[in-house]
């Protein structure tokens, strides 16, 4: 049984174009919800036992300190406070106030769980570092694909495989960013350092997937009696089960983290899962169709003439 994937490429390419357009629109309108790793600022998580102060109580207690952009988020068993990047003195003053809320209650206890303070310069640095790292990964991938496909030149030049893989990669990155733009807008999910690691890993993974399809094309092309389009379709079909199974097992492992791994790496695992899913989709429905479209664009005039 062979699925007519390449023949239906217009449907998939249209869907993907729409999704990418929607992602870009989301990024343009909502932007990304950057966390303190990027923007600079402070995050304080404290735990109250046998007593849960209300948000207003906490706000009132901290009123004198004049904190800018204070956000208070109660979680299952702790309270998270976010505010501008502050000195150690302010941190201690806040702790003192929060502690006194518990001290006023019988049998209540108070504990600081974590405190993050990031200076604005560090955030700027992280942004440029992330950008550089992504650029380096892109370049390495193009180089590697061009190198490993150097012997395949008919009917499509080897560098075009690299470009097709990169188009699929850009699709994956934009889509993942778009999803997180929406997640950030509606559920307040933030982009922090681990997210960068997730995006870079998705890049590596997505290209891994694409390469495996291309490898099959490379193997089938010389001995194929069919035309380019059908050879590619057969190759995609042959690798279809493997692509889906590999991503499925990786996503199974990630689901375990999403459900049991605790809140601090849930978003990270979610980004990876979304990226891996869309990476698999793009290696099947984008990278190979793009090769065919490109080939037809360059070869069709000759045929009709």
């Amino acid at each position: 049984m062979i699925y007519r994937i390449i023949q239906r490429r217009k449907i998939f390419l249209t869907i993907s174009s729409l999704l990418v357009a929607a992602s870009i629109a989301a990024l343009a309108i909502w932007g990304l919800n950057f966390g303190i790793d990027f923007t600079g600022g402070s995050l304080l998580e404290v735990e109250y036992r046998n007593y849960q102060p209300t948000i207003t109580e906490i706000q009132d207690s901290l009123k004198d300190l004049g904190l800018n952009s204070l956000v208070i988020q109660p979680t299952d068993n702790s309270v998270i406070l976010k505010f501008q990047n502050s000195s150690e003195d302010v941190h201690q003053a806040i702790l003192g106030k929060l502690q006194s809320l518990a001290a006023a209650q019988e049998g209540a206890s108070f504990k600081e769980l974590q405190f993050d303070a990031v200076g604005p310069s560090i955030g700027q640095e992280l942004k440029s570092k992330s950008f550089n790292a992504t650029a380096i990964v892109f370049v390495l991938i193009i180089l590697y694909i061009s190198f490993s496909f150097r012997k395949v030149s008919r009917p499509v030049a080897s560098w075009k495989y690299g470009v097709a893989a990169i188009i699929a990669l850009i699709h994956d990155v934009i889509f993942t960013l778009g999803v997180f733009s929406a997640l950030g807008h509606f559920w307040g999910i933030e982009i922090n350092t681990p997210f960068i690691a997730a995006i870079l890993t998705v890049l590596g993974y997505s290209v891994n997937d694409t390469i495996i399809v291309f490898d099959r094309i490379r193997e089938n092309l010389p001995k194929s009696s069919e035309d380019f389009e059908n050879t590619i379709n057969r190759s995609v079909n042959q690798t279809l089960v493997r692509s889906i199974n590999t991503s499925f097992s990786a996503i199974l492992a990630l689901l375990a983290i999403i459900f049991l791994g605790g809140s601090s790496i849930r978003d990270f695992a979610l980004a990876l899962a979304i990226g891996i899913f869309v990476g698999t989709y793009s290696s099947i429905f984008i990278a190979s169709p793009v090769l065919v479209v490109w080939n037809n664009l360059t070869h069709r005039p000759k045929k009709t003439a």
Binding site: E45, E88, K111, L113, Q114, F115, D116, A117, V118, G119, S121, I122, E125, L126, K129, A133, I136, V137, L140, I141, Y144, I145, S148, T193, P194, I196, A197, L200, T201, L203, G204, Y205, V207, N208, I211, I212, E219, Q238, V241, R242, N245, T246, S249, A250, I251, L252, A253, L254, L255, A256, I257, F259, L260, G261, G262, S264, I265, F268, A269, L272
Partner: protein, 510 residues
């Protein structure tokens, strides 16, 4: 080939025993003590050394502090040295604080900023630590409060061990701000290391006065209230140039220079980033990760067995070898064990590829490089962070990728009518280029992650790299060895075990 495969299996079993003992040494020791107890010391198993995992701050609790050093007022050429001195001061201060294995690193960022990164694991009073670290170092020169008539008979300039450094000192006016710099030099006569001091004009005058009234007496140098050196004055020193000679080795002299310079060129530091995690939050993260890891392993194993049947079961066995090996590499293994493990892995990879007849020079080089990297990672402890563990769990899902490729290929070959053993051979052979290209691209990404610089990202990249490298060994060598052993007439008749439906006649027809 089967007889050889049994030998290989024996090597793999020994390999598993070694990694197993490295990972679960504590369980094994508990068991052997229990056994000795129950059998009245008849069965006494030797105990093994228990190796700990190295946990990051987010898992064991602690604080990560980043200080920005203000080097504006320090001449360009002295900046690196001044930062090194400031680092030394901080290290000494946190050591005094009683933190186990503190990390204090001087770091010049890509943007040319000078930073000092401090990691204090398990520190209880972060507030106190921050206060202590942030203070500017004070260098003071002190003399004996009651000049005594006792003149040291020994000659000059040496650090006297018998001088009581803690009591009876009084301040002089000379402090670190009059010291231009300290440098290490070597005595032209006997080549021993010496520390030379250079004072500014004002300092030269003060030093002349102090040495003038303390000839034959020690003058002590205090940093942050602790004595770091107490040379005896030989003669009155004019001109602002002095030399401390003594019985110290190069390391000691360097240390003294660093400490003197930290007072001479004090670098003001400001805390620009802090990350503090309470220990209970860390242990909760460990519990969560453990459960997530086990569930992930279980889900992936179930999937593999349900979908690929017998080969799936084999891949789950190699997945267990994979998990133990990666965990062992995370620990700091003794050099002999690390070497043996890597040699076995690379050796068996070479052997298996040779059997498959797809061995060549490029491949040998690729695995040699991976082997060397793995060897170094096996020697040093990999600090496990939350994201590092996530990388490990993800790699469990990805480690079966090579097997999925091989099994899918094997099924295709079976459907074309090949015998089971031919199909398996072809499956391994044909899947290899894809496995190679796919993994190399992921390894390239890992390398970028490792050099990214932020510790959580680095940790993730490192664990993912180790995972991919080991998975090449487990998925190819271990799975294939198991395959060769179970191959045989019985399996040819039961291709359904490989998930393929076929009539027995078909084999004959082909």
């Amino acid at each position: 080939m089967r007889a050889k495969a049994w030998w290989i299996l024996l090597v793999i079993i020994l390999f598993v025993a070694v990694v197993g003992l490295s990972v679960g040494g504590n369980f094994y020791n508990t068991f052997s003590r229990f056994l000795a107890d129950k059998t009245n010391k008849i069965v006494v198993l030797p105990l093994v050394k228990e190796l700990p995992f190295s946990l990051g701050l987010d898992l064991q609790g602690g604080t990560h502090l980043v200080y920005q050093a203000d080097v504006q007022n320090i001449p360009e050429k002295d900046r690196a040295g001044a930062l090194e001195s400031a680092r030394d001061v901080i290290e000494r201060r946190v050591n005094a604080f009683g933190v186990s294995e503190p990390v204090v690193q001087a770091n010049k960022s890509l943007g040319g900023e000078y930073r000092i990164i401090t990691e204090l694991a398990g520190v209880k009073d972060v507030k106190e630590a921050i206060k202590l670290i942030g203070e500017t170092p004070i260098l003071e020169f002190k003399e004996k409060s009651q000049p005594t008539a006792v003149v040291s008979p020994e000659a000059s300039g040496t650090v006297e061990a018998n001088v009581d450094l803690n009591e009876g000192w009084q301040n002089t006016e000379l402090t670190g701000k009059y010291l231009k710099r300290a440098t290490i030099q070597f005595n032209p006569n006997d080549g021993t290391p010496e520390v030379s001091l250079e004072f500014n004009t004002e300092g030269a005058q003060l030093f002349e006065d102090i040495t003038g009234r303390n000839v034959g007496q020690p003058v002590a140098i205090f940093l942050d209230g602790y004595p770091i050196s107490a040379p005896t004055v030989n003669e009155k020193i004019t001109g602002g140039q002095a030399v401390i000679s003594g019985h110290f080795n190069v390391e000691e002299a360097k240390l003294l220079v660093k400490r003197l310079n930290s007072g001479a060129l004090p670098v003001p530091i400001t805390l620009i980033s802090q990350k503090t995690v309470e220990a209970s939050l860390g242990s909760q993260s460990i519990d969560n990760s453990l459960r997530a890891g086990l569930l992930g392993l279980l889900l992936v194993s179930l999937f593999m067995i349900l979908y690929y049947r017998l080969p799936g079961l084999l891949s789950v066995l190699s997945l267990l070898v994979y998990g133990l090996t990666v965990l062992a590499i995370f620990k700091a293994l003794p050099i002999v064990i690390a070497l043996v493990l890597v040699i076995i892995m690379v050796g068996l990879v070479f052997y298996t590829f040779n059997e498959l007849k797809i061995f060549n020079g490029t491949l040998a080089m690729l695995f040699a490089v991976i082997g060397i990297l793995l060897f170094f990672y096996a020697l040093k402890p990999i600090t496990l962070t939350l994201s590092g563990i996530a990388g490990f769990i993800l790699s469990v899902g990805m480690a079966v990728d090579a097997n999925i490729l091989i099994f899918s290929r094997t099924r295709e070959e079976l459907k074309q009518g090949k015998t089971v053993s031919q199909a398996i051979d072809a499956g391994f052979k044909r899947a290899w280029p894809s496995i190679r290209d796919g993994n190399v691209s992921t390894i390239l990404t890992c390398l970028v992650l490792m050099f990214f610089g932020t510790s959580s990202v680095q940790g993730f990249g490192t664990t993912l790299f180790i995972g991919i490298a080991v998975s090449l060994f487990s998925a190819i060598v271990v799975t294939r060895t198991l395959f060769v052993i179970i191959l045989g007439e019985w399996l040819e008749k039961r291709v359904w075990l490989l998930g393929v439906r076929r009539q027995p006649e078909e084999i004959k027809n082909n």
